[in-house]
Symmetry: C2
Subunit: 209 residues, 2 copies
DNA sequence: TATATAAAATGACTAATAGTCACTAAATAT
DNA sequence: ATATTTAGTGACTATTAGTCATTTTATATA
């Protein structure tokens, strides 16, 4: 039935239009300064319609986060070198994440500000993308495994644990730079060099000796 | 003038009573589920009175955070050994922070959930406690300096930078455990051992070789 | 084509809640 | 005893997330 297909396509399109509007406003005015009315107006729809496509504000926010994850994943996949060692790909993945935070600061902030505790408010269908194969985190775990197999990464700690540590470490520094710039300025810490330093420190602790 | 002194004392007392009430409710129901009306009721005051003592909700939240910082600082100072090497005190400070997150989970969460971007909403008077001498972060910087002087800590990176890295790294893992337990469970990562692993990794990268 | 049914969209309405302010009450000074 | 200053009150406003009875539009049917 061709009509149903078109309708599905249009529904998806409308959904994406709404995310476009939300994204644009979030990035422009900051997450906390954008109301559902505001988004509805931008999307040229009534507020009620937003709730036909999203469970609520958090669900819409998470849809934006999901786009960020897709973007990040693209960058990671693009820079991944199948033939390289696990260690090298680890380094590369880190660089990809840093690039992402620089090239898509809005998305990065949106991801950092997504409250972990509001997962229940997110529609189940899109809820666990972070845990799906192909997500940045899952891919990182795979790379750590590869590194442990080729001997370039220490194997006395489980790949999941190592991956979570690496991810948390890098995220925390990027968050520091993105959200707490004034603190770093006050302490006269250079933003570029702190990334390099953190990178060396935590990667070093993860590679084989 | 004795009357003025008593009044000042009573004012401070009232202020502390309000923080007590807020703290209690925050810890019991979670930060996001407590309204100003609720706090006023708990403190047996009218809502308007809260605004005589605090600039707004964020300011009150920060007052709770400030108490947490004081508590953390106490623990850090208690465990500090003046005669020990910088490296040893670094290790000790990390342990103190971990202890704090375990013994005062409410305060720890409250600190983690305090939005860095809302500093402007905080009363100037209590605003920059994090940057005052004697705060955990400033004390950490001092310890790193000591370590660099006694040769136990690498000195090719500024103490401020190293301190920020260490602080961010440990905070991120503790935040992971506190706010994203389900993720760790799903990945079958043990909470206790991930702390140990992260500790080893990031401390190792900071000590002299 | 005209009519019935289903799907999509609307926006006025409710509920919750942060913050304000004109007023009252209590404490202190004269 | 009265005036003045300080502390406290709670009804009110403004904002905004989310709902739902109603309307509009699109599709199916006769």
């Amino acid at each position: 039935m061709g009509i149903q297909e078109r309708k599905d396509r249009e529904k998806l399109q409308r959904r994406n239009d709404i995310i476009d509007s939300a994204e644009q406003l979030f990035f422009k005015h900051g997450l906390g300064n954008v109301s559902m009315d505001h988004i509805a107006q931008e999307a040229e729809l009534s507020k009620g319609t937003l709730y036909l496509y999203f469970k609520g504000r958090e669900d819409l926010h998470y849809a934006v986060v999901n786009r960020g994850l897709d973007l990040l994943n693209e960058i990671i996949q693009r820079n991944h070198v199948r033939e390289a060692s696990g260690a090298d790909n680890l380094l590369q993945l880190g660089r990809s994440y840093i690039d992402f935070s620089r090239e898509h600061p809005g998305h990065f902030q949106s991801m950092m500000l997504f409250d972990a505790s509001s997962f229940e408010k997110v529609d189940k269908e899109q809820s666990l993308k972070i845990l799906e194969p192909g997500s940045p985190l899952m891919f990182l775990i795979e790379i750590v495994k590869t590194g442990q197999e080729d001997g370039s990464v220490r194997n006395d700690i489980s790949p999941e644990k190592l991956a979570m540590i690496l991810w948390s470490h890098l995220s925390s520094i990027l968050e520091l730079i993105t959200l707490r710039g004034p603190l770093l300025n006050y302490l006269e810490v250079d933003k570029g060099s702190i990334i390099d330093a953190q990178f060396e420190i935590s990667l070093n602790g993860v590679l084989s000796k």
